[in-house]
């Protein structure tokens, strides 16, 4: 029965063997060589990317401090909660269930997870359920940036329902802005992924970000926890921290005053800058309204929000909301441009003095207008300023005078100085979104500049600059002619607080000589002491400034921009301030609405910077003093001390000793004010604050006296005529104690306009 394999079988066996070994195994080896030797690295990288990417731990983002190390933005540890729909699906036993039963069990578990987490984390349950149904996915974020308390609630929910496979909690970080809206457009904010979206957060994103840590672990494969000893930790490296030149105190003052001004003028916006004239460091920078950095998507302007909500078309409403958000994130002090108007006369003046085409003795007689080519350009004073010297011309902000100065300077020189003062280039401030000047669009090209263009440009019309450019040019005049590069980040600190980078002030060029700068400054001082800028007068300080009012062209056509630029103290310049009010209603002149803001700021900033005031004799009599310590003394002693200080007292009660005084010890009060002394512990007598606005100085004094209130005078109460109170720090009809100090702000209502409009 046995039969040896035939020759045929031998042949056929050889063929089969060859097929299996050569074709089969051969193909296998060739494929392996391709995958492992040729493409190996590519696959290895993909594999590593996946493993590392899935388990990277966010580095703590760097902190942002102001110049006094006050925290402006800070990251803290937080957690991210996610669901693992794949594991959820796989966690249900299939055995012993029909298809329908199995699906029902899966769906029930999804419902449990979704409703539980939606409850705890306050997210939409339906959306969550949709996520839980993505069976192909291993990681669907439920919510990031959650804090410890919530994380603990989630942990409890997970362990109570044994959901270890389906719900994960991962370390995350959360960005906090402790001051909410303070300096919002400078700081900016981060998105859900921890990346910067606006302001410094985006400009310095890579610096702030740090190096994420990595955890290589078994859990990465299914994204669910797997308690196995296979983890390698690479610590995350905290991001670099920033120390800004911004001073929160000055920033707060600026924001407060701008917001008051914006409301008072019913303006579209108010923005301002405070700059250190020596270094170029920005001390404060704001445009109102400021949005809340912790809720950047909420539209902060309530009127705008109401308008948006009133839009019926859904798509339109959505678009309006987006626009409103972008608008509030926009840093207008660097991104917007405006016609500087008369403030620019300072630049024309500096150039003309430097070139020697005018001097202090140059005079001009203004008849109310000037013929330029085919146009007759009117002065804002219709009947003319008459004969004036150079300083008087600046004080009056006389347009025809400056047209003649510009014409004397000539197109070529004008353009040369225009460029030298930095108006043709970005300033290079370390913030995103700086407006880029464009020849022929934002300013005149030299070749296209005729006598008409030159004439209007000489008094700041027909071209646009950004606020940051304007204040940088003003700072150049304040610091002796040096154009500096503005900046907001002073230092970069590593994790331990060591300085790893410090910004050195950059002087770009000497634009005009020191003496020219000084001469311009002197004339600017006269603008404040007796010219259109007199509302910027601050007792005890020399302020040099210039008003500006310009009509808008293009968007907001027919509206105005009023501004005021100043330097303080004029004899030893420390800060430059630029206040701009966009589209004011009613009073529209810079001297009327922007200068008083600057005055208040100068007063507060100088006090904050501990610059010693120097009062004139006239001012001496009006300045505030600190209330003396009278409590504990006998009434007779108290009266004697008060008399020495030129103060009046009013005694209430029949006791022998003073047990209470108003104003209290050390509180500022006007010289010659009244101190109320209580000799027994009766209730303080109350009085009601009147409405001071619109009162003249003498009326206000009488009224205060009559009501037993100490009047503290602020602003321009003394130079010029037509001076009236325009604001007070304690609202009218407030019930206050006798002797309370109420600050009342005064300003001049005439001789301060520099435009033909107001």
């Amino acid at each position: 029965m046995s039969s040896k394999p035939s020759k045929l079988m031998l042949k056929r066996a050889a063929l089969i063997l060859a097929l299996v070994v050569i074709i089969g195994f051969g193909t296998g080896v060739v494929r392996l060589a391709k995958l492992q030797l040729v493409d190996g690295n590519e696959y290895r990288e993909k594999a590593e990317l996946e493993m590392l990417g899935d388990s990277s731990v966010q580095a703590l983002r760097g902190t942002i401090y102001d110049c006094n190390n006050r925290v402006l933005a800070k990251s803290a540890s937080a957690w991210r909660v996610f669901i693992d729909p794949r594991s959820l699906y796989n966690s249900i036993e299939k055995e012993g269930k029909t298809e329908a039963e199995f699906e029902a069990a899966v769906e029930a578990k999804r419902q449990l997870v979704a409703s539980g987490l939606a409850n705890i984390l306050e997210v939409d349950g339906e959306t969550l359920l949709e996520k839980a149904r993505k069976t192909g996915s291993g990681d669907e974020t439920v919510k990031g940036e959650i804090e410890l308390e919530l994380k603990n609630k989630v942990s409890k929910f997970v362990s109570e329902n044994k959901l270890y496979d389906c719900v994960g909690i991962q370390p995350d970080t959360k960005r906090y802005y402790p001051n909410n809206s303070l300096a919002s457009t400078i700081i900016g904010f981060t998105g859900a992924d921890g990346k910067g979206i606006a302001g410094l957060e985006i400009k310095y994103d890579s610096v702030l970000t740090g190096v994420p840590g990595r955890v290589i672990s078994a859990k990465s494969g299914s994204m669910s926890a797997m308690p196995i000893e296979y983890t390698a930790n690479y610590e995350s490296q905290q991001g670099t921290s920033l120390v800004l030149t911004i001073d929160s105190t000055i920033q707060e003052l600026l924001e407060k005053e701008l917001e008051k001004a914006r409301e008072g003028a019913q303006a579209n916006a108010a923005y301002g800058l405070v700059m250190d004239v020596e270094t170029g460091g920005i001390l404060a920078m704001s445009n109102q309204l400021d949005y809340n950095l912790n809720e950047p998507y909420t539209v902060c302007n309530e009127e705008a929000l109401a308008e948006i909500e009133a839009i019926e078309d859904e798509e339109e409403q959505r678009q309006a909301l987006i626009n409103a958000r972008y608008a509030q994130w926009r840093n207008r002090t660097i991104s917007d441009t405006y016609e500087p108007g008369s403030v620019f006369k300072v630049i024309t003046l500096a150039a003309a003095l430097e070139e020697g085409v005018v001097n202090e003795n140059t005079s001009y007689s203004c008849s109310g207008g000037i013929q330029v080519a085919d146009n007759y350009i009117k002065c804002h004073k219709r009947d003319g300023h008459g004969s004036q010297n150079l300083q008087k011309g600046l004080m009056n902000s006389c347009n025809p005078f400056f047209i003649t100065i510009g014409q004397k300077l000539g197109v070529e020189k004008f353009c040369e100085y225009f460029e030298a003062f930095g108006f043709t280039q970005k300033t290079g401030i370390d913030l995103t979104g700086e407006a880029a000047p464009k020849a022929g669009v934002t300013y005149h090209e030299q070749k296209n500049m005729g006598i008409s263009q030159l004439s209007s440009a000489s008094f700041g019309q027909t071209f646009q600059v950004s606020p940051i450019q304007m204040i940088t040019a003003i700072a150049a005049i304040a610091n002796g002619g040096k154009l500096i590069q503005p900046y907001v980040v002073a230092k970069q600190l590593d994790e331990k607080g060591n300085i790893i980078k410090e910004t050195q002030p950059i002087v770009k060029r000497q634009v005009v000589s020191e003496s020219t700068a000084k001469r311009v400054l002197t004339m600017m001082e006269a603008v404040v002491s007796a010219g259109t800028g007199k509302n910027a007068y601050v007792a005890g300080f020399h302020v040099a400034g210039k008003t500006g009012t310009s009509q808008k062209i293009g968007a907001g056509n027919g509206q105005y921009v009023s501004s005021f630029a100043c330097v303080a103290p004029a004899d030893d310049p420390k800060v430059a301030i630029l206040i701009t009010i966009d589209e004011p209603v009613g009073q529209i002149n810079g001297g009327q609405i922007a200068a008083p803001v600057a005055a208040t700021l100068v007063e507060e900033v100088m006090a904050y910077l501990s610059v010693e005031p120097e009062y004139t004799e006239e001012e001496q009599n009006l300045i505030d003093v600190a209330a003396p310590a009278l409590v504990g003394r006998t009434v007779a002693d108290a009266k004697e001390i008060a008399a020495d200080e030129n103060m009046n007292v009013k005694v209430v009660g029949n006791g022998e000793n003073v047990i209470k005084q108003i104003p209290g010890y050390g509180q500022t009060m006007p010289r010659n004010g009244v101190v109320i002394l209580y000799t027994d512990d009766r209730e303080e007598e109350m009085t009601t604050v009147p409405d001071f606005t619109g009162m003249s100085l003498s009326m206000a004094r009488k009224s205060a006296n009559y009501l037993g209130i100490n009047l503290n005078i602020s602003g321009n109460a003394f130079s010029g005529s037509d001076i009236l109170a325009y604001s007070q720090d304690i609202a009218k009809d407030t019930s206050v104690k006798y002797g309370t100090v109420v600050t009342v702000y005064f300003k001049a209502y005439s001789g301060v306009s520099d435009s033909v409009y107001g």
Binding site: M1, S2, S3, K4, P5, S6, L8, M9, L10, R12, A13, I16, L17, V20, V21, G24, F25, T27, G28, V29, R31, L32, A33, L35, Q36, L37, D39, G40, N41, E42, Y43, R44, K46, A47, E50, M51, R86, K94, E99, F102, G136, S137, G138, I216, S217, A218, K219, S220, G221, S222, M226, I228, Y230
Partner: protein, 390 residues
């Protein structure tokens, strides 16, 4: 020396007296041991994840390996000529099981491949593959005259090739009814190879392969024609960017693992992809972990071992004194070789992802025992083979 009395069965000695082919045995043991080592390495993380016990797979597989080796040695003692009598029985049992599994409740939803005995599960198709080889080896010897006649003239005794072909188609068809495409392909190719070795007229194969080629092309370009899951696997094979978290997840991570191995590998036990990236790394895709840990060098060495096994099986067959023994030996090693090749081509994304396990390596106790028993048969044939005299 007194000659021991032989135990006789049906007038033949029950046990074979010759010595076994040590080369073949060593190859088998080498594969078995490397398979067990790699199974432990590849599977412990998943075992821990799934069963809270890292040694879950290796302990079970180890027990079956011991049973299998004992069985293999026992079977190798038996005179292989007796297996002729088993041919009809095994074939009948195979068909019965293939039919039974179709009517039993599904063990995994949508799949009717397994029979659950409570303590073990097994696939009837594993037994059927052996049944088919055994049946063909027996039949091709028994009707070799008719086959030879038909070879000389295709019109003569044409019923035999048709009947033989129908048996193969029947087996393969039953497996296809299980929704088991890979089992179907294996069964089909084994049948073709056995019939070819059995000496059938070439013309049958030319005709048959032409039809098969048309079918393959049709299916590749119309994946929807197949049941949903099988069709999707072809789509996933053609489109390398298809559903990376679903249909292509396993294949992509297999490629990551293989690529990560490079020339020398990450080192034994140092695979990263086995940590739940490559799904069920102890199963069909264990070779990817072999590649990652042992590199191109190690993976090639494993392939060489398999190739040597096939080669040695053929050598044993060629030196066998009967057609039955030769066909049986070749059929068994061919089946192992084919399964290995298909597995490697799937793992390397050369072919669509079909569920084919890697012999000696993949987890599965009953199929390991089955495999070792078959190795025992080859060893038993080797005892009666002239291979040792070469």
């Amino acid at each position: 020396m007194q000659k021991k009395k032989e135990i006789m069965l049906l007038n033949r000695p029950l046990f074979s007296k010759g010595s076994i082919d040590v080369t073949f045995l060593l190859i088998v043991l080498a594969l078995l041991i490397s398979g067990l080592v790699m199974l432990f390495s590849a599977g412990y993380s998943y075992a821990y994840y799934k069963y809270d016990n890292s040694t879950y797979f290796i302990v079970r597989q180890g027990i079956f390996a011991v049973i299998g080796v004992v069985g293999m040695l026992a079977v190798s003692k038996i005179n292989y000529n007796h297996f002729r009598h088993l041919a009809i029985i095994v074939t009948a049992v195979s068909v019965a099981l293939l039919l039974l599994v179709l009517v039993l409740p599904e063990w995994k939803p949508g799949f009717k491949r397994w029979i659950n005995l409570g303590f073990v599960t097994f696939q009837p198709s594993e037994i059927a593959k052996f049944g088919l080889v055994l049946f063909y080896a027996w039949g091709c010897e028994k009707w070799q005259k008719q086959i030879a006649n038909n070879r000389k003239n295709i019109r003569e005794d044409w019923k035999y090739p048709v009947l033989f072909g129908l048996v193969g188609i029947g087996f393969a068809g039953l497996v296809l009814l299980e929704n088991h495409v890979s089992g179907f392909i294996l069964m089909f190719v084994i049948a073709v190879a056995m019939l070819y070795l059995g000496g059938f007229n070439k013309l049958w194969f030319i005709g048959g392969l032409a039809i098969a080629a048309v079918a393959i092309v049709f299916v590749v370009f119309n994946p929807d024609f197949l049941k949903e899951y099988a069709g999707e696997r072809i789509t996933a094979w053609l489109d390398k960017d298809y559903d990376p978290t679903g249909a292509r997840w396993q294949t992509n991570h297999s490629l990551y693992a293989i690529g990560s191995g490079g020339f020398l590998g990450q080192g034994l036990g140092a695979s990263k992809q086995k940590f739940l990236y490559v799904s069920e790394p102890q199963n069909d895709f264990i070779f990817a972990i072999v590649c990652e840990e042992l590199g191109f060098v190690g993976a090639t060495a494993v392939l060489v071992l398999f190739a040597l096994l096939v080669w040695r099986g053929f050598v044993i067959a060629m030196n066998c004194r009967s057609k039955f023994g030769a066909l049986l030996s070749m059929g068994i090693v061919f089946q192992v070789g084919l399964q290995t090749v298909l597995n490697i081509l799937v793992v390397t994304d050369t072919l669509p992802n079909t569920g084919i396990s890697l012999p000696f390596f993949s987890y599965g106790g009953t199929s390991l025992v089955m495999l070792l028993l078959e190795m025992g048969i080859v060893l038993s044939i080797s005892r009666a083979s002239d291979v040792k005299r070469q």
